[in-house]
Amino acid sequence: MKDKHSISFSTEEPILFNSNHERIDVNKLIETCMKDPKRILVDDEIGVVVYVGDMGIYRVSAFGDPTTGQPPPDPNGHWGQQVIQISRVRFPARIIRHQIGSVVMSITADSVFLIREKYIRKIRAEDLEKGMVLHTGEKVYW
């Protein structure tokens, strides 16, 4: 873990860990949060969203910093992004797979990425194409 200052929302099932670098199970974390009604931002037909911003939860990312675009400090570095809220969706979108940078990932088709062209623009995961470059510098391989 190299950095803990960037912030992210988490809607997939990411690799989460605490400030002691211990792996955390997403479902168990949500169950824990569900016992504290204050943390449940919403629990309805669409799914559950819980607040974890004060629990010292981080997600591992192999991409650069989502805010500054700064790349991970070294090729093997894990970028720790603080997680503010976690969602569990009851009707997830279609799952697709891409290799971006050194990472092969399963993501929902409607996930949003930022790519660098003449300007930085948003793109849905299902529209990512080989050769595109994220604004954080990682290349889309497939």
Partner: protein, 328 residues
């Protein structure tokens, strides 16, 4: 109280339910900045003001969500709608005496793609969300999104929320809360209205959720009424087939209809058998698999029995090979 259109009326009622007396609606309201002691706002006609229609959802102690409702029939809201609201919210914040203003624009017919840049850079939220696809949401879905956002926002404010204040924090917060409606609406369409429903909640559900919740549970009893066939399961759960619909979830012990022994068949040859026979055969067995054939629903049981739920009929078949030597 008068409303300019159905959208405005519905959104105000939602805001009232959630924010109580802190929800207000004003037409042709002349809004004025709160701080009027700045040299740059001095003019011959007084400080800046603008006439708007606004629903305000207020949150203690000092947060105000300014909602603009755009009901344009089939036309989408344009960047000028977003720019106007950005000017209102931005100016209110710049000359605020302590209140923090957020902005939300609701346009059930959607937004043109040019709206996004103006909304993100101004930290205004949009309902329905722009997803870079011609995603059409129903009018009702936009209202559901609004309720979800207003409820979640109130609870979110109880925690530190600095990241929502700067662009595109609030835009993203609302986007994350509303983007998953696409999956729910698609599922509803695929199920032609809603084949799967969660008992008690009345929420739309899915075959996947049924499998996740029921597989591994034991059959406690079989339920047969004039309206439904079903199972009582371990863990206080229930499974019911009512017409074309499948309901499952926490057992409310009130299946529709009156008690009525169902028609029962056994083996692939559909031989007659009694309800009691089926009951004794499947009681205490564990659900190991499930299949939905549209016309009927089947569970695989731990004693190698397939239990089929047909309209008003239960059908049991032993799956052990050879079939002929293992007839029931």
């Amino acid at each position: 109280m008068t409303f300019k259109n159905q959208l405005e009326e519905s959104v105000f009622r939602i805001a009232k339910d959630i924010c109580g007396s802190l929800a207000t609606i004003e037409h042709n309201k002349v809004i004025q900045i709160e701080r009027t002691d700045k040299i740059e706002t001095a003019t011959f006609s007084g400080p800046p003001k603008k006439e708007i229609d606004v629903i305000t959802a207020g949150y203690e102690p000092n947060v105000r969500l300014l909602i603009s409702c755009k009901q344009y029939g089939t036309n989408k809201a344009e960047p000028s709608d977003v720019q106007e609201w950005a000017a209102v919210v931005g100016t209110m914040n710049k000359y605020s005496k302590g209140n923090v203003f957020f902005g939300l624009i609701i346009s059930p017919s959607g937004f043109t793609s040019g709206c996004e840049g103006w909304a993100t850079s101004s930290n205004l939220a949009l309902i329905p969300p722009l997803k870079n696809r011609p995603t059409k949401f129903e009018f009702e879905t936009s209202l559901e999104m609004t309720g979800r956002v207003l409820r979640a926002f109130g609870k979110r404010l109880a925690f530190p929320h600095e990241e929502l204040l700067g662009p595109p924090g609030f835009y993203n917060f609302v986007f994350e809360l509303t983007k998953a409606f696409e999956g729910r609406d698609r599922q509803k369409k695929e199920q032609q209205g809603g084949r799967y429903e969660l008992l008690g909640k009345g929420w739309l559900s899915s075959f996947g959720e049924l499998v996740e919740m029921l597989i591994g549970k034991n059959i406690v009893d079989v339920v047969a009424t004039t309206e439904c066939l079903g199972l009582k399961l371990s863990g206080g759960l229930a499974f019911r087939v009512v017409g074309d619909q499948i309901l499952f979830g926490p057992d409310d012990n009130s299946p529709p209809g009156t008690s009525n022994e169902s028609l029962c068949k056994k083996n692939l040859s559909s031989d007659d058998c009694t309800f009691e026979f089926v009951k004794n055969l499947i009681k205490d067995q564990r659900l190991t698999s499930a299949a939905d054939f549209g016309s009927h629903f089947e569970f695989g049981l731990s004693n190698e029995i397939n239990l089929g739920f047909y309209p008003k009929m239960l059908h049991v078949v032993r799956t052990r090979e050879p079939i002929e030597a293992n007839l029931l």
